[in-house]
């Protein structure tokens, strides 16, 4: 879906806006593909407003106006709700492109976002060649972790570090978020150590993701994107389960918007005169 580009105002600055189910991210990128600014905020229930606020924050941080941006790509579940986007691309292609740009050797991308998780095979140009996504269940997603952190009564940020201190192996179901929450509460009630439960929660996600990787096959090297990649607990559990070392971007949560901005740059170059 292509929108109009005002050639008179054409700028080499581009942007990507990723309206996800939990968070909206914007990346503004210069002609040299360096990040000029980015923003992350909760999407809430009004996606259009979240996209506008996210863009305004990023623009302010880069001291730019919307009219300074030459091309904008919208992505994520709310990609159709980005009123100022020139075109829309799925988050699958955007995460693939973003990960490949940062890590050219990557052939498998694992993206765990707020309410879905994906495993994507990519080629040497960063194009998705195949992918699998989770079905209609929050197990194995960021939302699952939020619910589990609530059940454990710890902050989400703390749960990863907490899990690293686990001494004993316990098990939490990977099938259903609601059942898993009940299991966590039961383990808690039995006096099980929080660190052991936290580790079991990450292993539960790792089992789920490993099953998805198994559907496509593991192709080295493997990058992990999405907000969940910020948790050392899941990274450690996945690396152990997949027997590999994951490549993690410095800001994994913005990789969808980053990939969208890279695609915006390519599309701008394709429509630029001359």
């Amino acid at each position: 879906m292509e929108g109009g580009v005002d050639e008179d105002k054409m700028s080499t600055i581009v942007a990507g806006v990723d309206v996800g189910s939990l968070c909206t991210k914007t990346v503004i990128m210069g002609a040299d593909r360096s990040i000029l600014s980015f923003s992350i905020l909760r999407s809430g229930s009004f996606y259009r407003g979240a996209a506008e606020t996210s863009m305004n924050i990023a623009l302010k941080s880069a001291r730019l106006e919307l009219s300074d941006i030459g091309y904008i790509v919208g992505t994520g579940y709310g990609r159709a709700k980005v009123p100022f986007a020139n075109s829309q691309v799925t988050e699958i292609s955007c995460h693939a492109r973003g990960a490949a740009w940062l890590f050219p050797e990557v052939r498998t991308v694992i993206d765990i976002g707020g309410q879905d998780s994906k495993v994507i095979h990519i080629n040497d140009e960063g194009q998705p060649m195949n992918f699998v996504m989770n079905d209609k269940c929050a197990a194995g997603t960021g939302r699952f972790l939020e619910v589990m952190a609530g059940a454990l009564e710890v902050e989400l940020d703390e749960m990863g570090k907490l899990s690293l201190g686990a001494q004993k192996e316990v098990e939490v179901s990977s099938i259903c978020t609601v059942f898993a929450e009940s299991e966590v509460i039961s383990l808690f009630a039995e006096g099980c150590d929080k660190a052991n439960i936290a580790a079991a929660i990450y292993q539960s996600i790792a089992r789920r993701i490993t099953g998805m990787v198994g559907q496509l096959g593991l192709r080295e090297r493997v990058a992990m994107t999405g907000g969940v990649a910020m948790s050392c607990g899941i990274v450690r559990a996945l690396e152990k389960k997949l027997n590999t070392t994951l490549l993690i971007p410095e800001e994994p949560q913005i990789m969808g918007a980053y990939g969208a901005a890279i695609i915006a740059g390519e599309r701008l170059a394709a429509v630029a005169p001359g």
């Binding site: 799925t90 292609s93 140009e125 060649m129």
Partner: protein, 147 residues
């Protein structure tokens, strides 16, 4: 190639991508004798075939793969959409293997949207939209690589 979607929704969505759902497993597997269907009287001869001939030849994954590979070749098909219907888990059992085998055998990608053809509680439009959009981006990517 396409499987049934929730009340035809998936098929209607394909139109917005300029894609033509050209064939599916159901008619070929359940009614494999196309030569017995009279185009002048399709409903009557279709029903007659149900009573006079064995149906559902190929619903085991190995047979289905053979049939799908032939259809991919006959119709120059670009991709495969296999609906994983919650109401019919037995039918869905081999789908990931079938998509994988067709990809290796014919070089045609496929997706498996999780949904249902009847129960609207199991139909999530946004999730299906993302899978279909990503499939078309993947097809475009493969085409541009071939050029």
């Amino acid at each position: 190639m396409v499987a049934l979607g929730f009340l035809g929704e998936i098929i209607r969505k394909l139109v917005s991508y300029g894609a033509i759902p050209i064939c599916g497993r159901y008619p070929w597997e359940f009614f494999p004798h196309a030569e017995l269907i009279d185009p002048e009287d399709p409903v009557h001869t279709f029903v007659q075939q149900f009573y006079t001939h064995k149906v559902a030849w190929h619903d085991a994954p190995e047979g289905a793969v053979e049939l799908i590979a032939e259809l991919v070749d006959d119709y120059s098909i670009d991709s495969l959409i296999m609906l994983a219907s919650r109401s019919c888990r037995l039918w869905n059992l081999g789908q990931p293997d079938m998509v994988d085998t067709i990809e290796k055998k014919c070089g045609v990608p496929g997706v498996i949207p999780d949904s249902d053809q009847i129960d609207s509680r199991l139909f999530s439009e946004a999730r299906i939209d993302t899978r279909l959009a990503a499939l078309f981006e993947m097809i475009d990517g493969r085409r541009s690589r071939r050029r």
